[in-house]
């Protein structure tokens, strides 16, 4: 088992970034192509909204899967993929919000404000997005140094609130068939549970993640 892991590490490390780039780029291109070729059905705006929202949740789940994976494999270099996935999540969320503001509401600001205040699924979605902003802004090495690992970690715990708000947003947005939103929520529950199960032992005990030269971001 150990040796298998060791043998898999080098090729995985080489291939993971190109694979993640594909994961982010391909769906975006497919969606834009579908839009331009009128392949999104009778209501393309709704289709865009749904697809961009689901990709946001998928990438958020992927970024939350990195830490447990890191603990399981001991591959500290995975932490850089976490930042990549976190930023990708933010950009999908930005796209999702833009579809709402530009295509759905067409900059009807009074209506948008009313929608955010009055309709709870919109409120939850906005909260999920707003909480991502400080995380995206402090994703640089410079920010980590400036904030210090401990405070940076504390700040980035907001991602849990954002994930919960995102799931609630989806759950409240659907009319009746809650199967898909419940499925997403279940994935996040599993991811949260994994974090808890694989949490680092006490604060002063030896690190469970072996030191690696490329580990520049502290594990959240």
């Amino acid at each position: 088992m150990r040796s298998m892991l060791a043998r898999a590490e080098a090729p995985t490390r080489r291939l993971v970034r190109p694979a993640l780039w594909l994961l982010v780029i391909v769906p975006s291109i497919v969606l834009v192509a579908q839009l331009l070729l009128d392949q999104l059905g009778a209501e393309p705006i709704e289709a865009l909204q749904k697809a961009s929202g689901e990709w946001t949740l998928r990438l958020l789940a992927a970024s939350l899967a990195v830490t447990p994976l890191m603990r399981l494999t001991g591959w500290g270099w995975l932490v850089a993929q976490r930042r990549f996935l976190g930023l990708a999540t933010f950009f999908w969320a930005l796209g999702h919000l833009s579809v709402y503001i530009v295509l759905d509401q067409f900059f009807d600001w009074p209506e948008i404000v009313k929608d955010i205040l009055k309709h709870l699924y919109i409120t939850a979605g906005m909260l999920a997005f707003v909480l991502m902003i400080p995380l995206a802004l402090t994703s640089t090495k410079w920010s980590i140094k400036r904030l210090g690992g401990k405070r940076w970690n504390q700040l980035h715990r907001l991602v849990y609130v954002s994930a919960i708000a995102g799931c609630v947003h989806y759950l409240w947005a659907v009319k009746k068939d809650r199967e898909e939103p419940m499925l997403y929520a279940a994935v996040f529950v599993v991811l949260f549970a994994l974090r808890f199960i694989l949490r680092k032992p006490g604060p002063r005990s030896p690190r469970s993640v072996p030191p690696d030269a490329s580990v520049t971001l502290p594990a959240a």
Partner: protein, 309 residues
């Protein structure tokens, strides 16, 4: 409004789809063609109907047939909008029987033809407003519900008419999941059902009603949200008590019995003030009773429409 006086509505045969599509170009030459006896009177009537004597609103353009038949809420064939078209493609609506039950002179099963055959066929272009805040403009063919009701000979004590959709999970795969309490039920007050706007549709766009749109028999009540338009009707029951209806049962705070289109009463989770007309970009204001207030508002005089949503 689409229909100024219900009596004006031509009782005609199904209008060919090409007449709808080319109606404006067609109008110019229609007179000469008609003189030459080359055109069915029904097509002429349909054109006059569309041209303005009865009157579509400025932004009411027919929804492309492809959109109206591929973007459907029909949970019996899946909860995705694109699912019914695919999942209903092997559904065979004929032969079809409708059980007429309850307070009628003689409750009994009616064959499709017994129920709707030989009644004046109606061509109606109606706005269709979904409770999800999108809308379409659809050319229906069918019969007036009031004609069908008269044929069923209801007793004087009848106050409500209840409709039930087919329940057959082998033929309707969506019913394998309890997304809604099956079978789907809808109901109207008798006076609503007897309003001349209320239609039992058997066709759209000049063709037999597609499976995904509720073949072979679908209720169309254009002043109400789309979910009142129950599809694949197998039972019509006459009663003196307000029947339960599916969406009202599933979520009473969000879906009422009446479900009249009302821009002033929001859905608890979203606004009903505006709607997106399928195929258009900017949203348009939603009209009270979906623009049919002059025909139906009197049915609800004195009622608090915030309470009876």
């Amino acid at each position: 409004m689409l229909i100024r006086r219900p009596d004006d509505i031509p009782s005609s045969d199904i209008t060919p789809e090409t007449v709808y599509q080319n109606r404006r170009a067609f109008v110019g030459t229609a007179g000469a063609l008609a003189l030459g006896g080359l055109i069915a009177p029904s097509a002429l009537q349909a054109m006059r109907f569309d041209r303005g004597t009865v009157g579509l609103q400025e932004n009411d353009k027919l929804t492309p047939e492809d959109d109206a038949t591929s973007y459907n809420n029909y949970y019996e064939f899946g909860t995705g909008k694109d699912e019914p078209k695919e999942q209903a493609k092997d559904f065979r609506p004929m032969p079809w029987t409708v059980n007429v039950e309850g307070l009628v002179k003689k409750p009994r099963p009616y064959s499709f033809d017994e129920l709707v055959g030989k009644l004046p066929v109606q061509d109606r272009v109606y706005r269709h407003r979904c409770v999800e805040a999108w809308s379409m403009v659809i050319p229906w063919q069918g019969v007036q519900l009031k004609d069908v009701i008269a044929r069923c000979e209801p007793l004087p004590s009848v106050k409500f008419v209840e409709f039930t959709t087919l329940y057959d999970p082998r033929r309707m795969p969506g019913q394998a999941r309890a997304v809604l309490p099956w079978p789907y039920k809808e109901a109207l007050r008798l006076d609503e059902a007897n309003n001349p706007l209320a239609l039992l549709a058997t066709g759209m766009y000049g063709k037999a009603l597609p499976n995904q749109n509720g073949a072979p028999l679908k209720l169309v009540v254009p002043w109400k949200y789309g979910f009142k338009g129950i599809k694949a009707i197998v039972k019509i029951k006459f009663t003196d008590k307000m029947p339960n209806t599916t969406w009202n049962d599933a979520n009473p705070s969000e879906y009422g019995f009446y479900a009249n289109v009302n821009p002033l009463v929001d859905h608890p989770r979203w606004t009903q003030a505006k709607e997106r007309r399928i195929g258009q970009f900017l949203k348009i204001p939603t009209l009270p009773f979906n623009g049919y207030a002059s025909q139906v508002a009197s049915l609800y005089s004195g009622m608090d429409l915030r309470k009876y949503y």
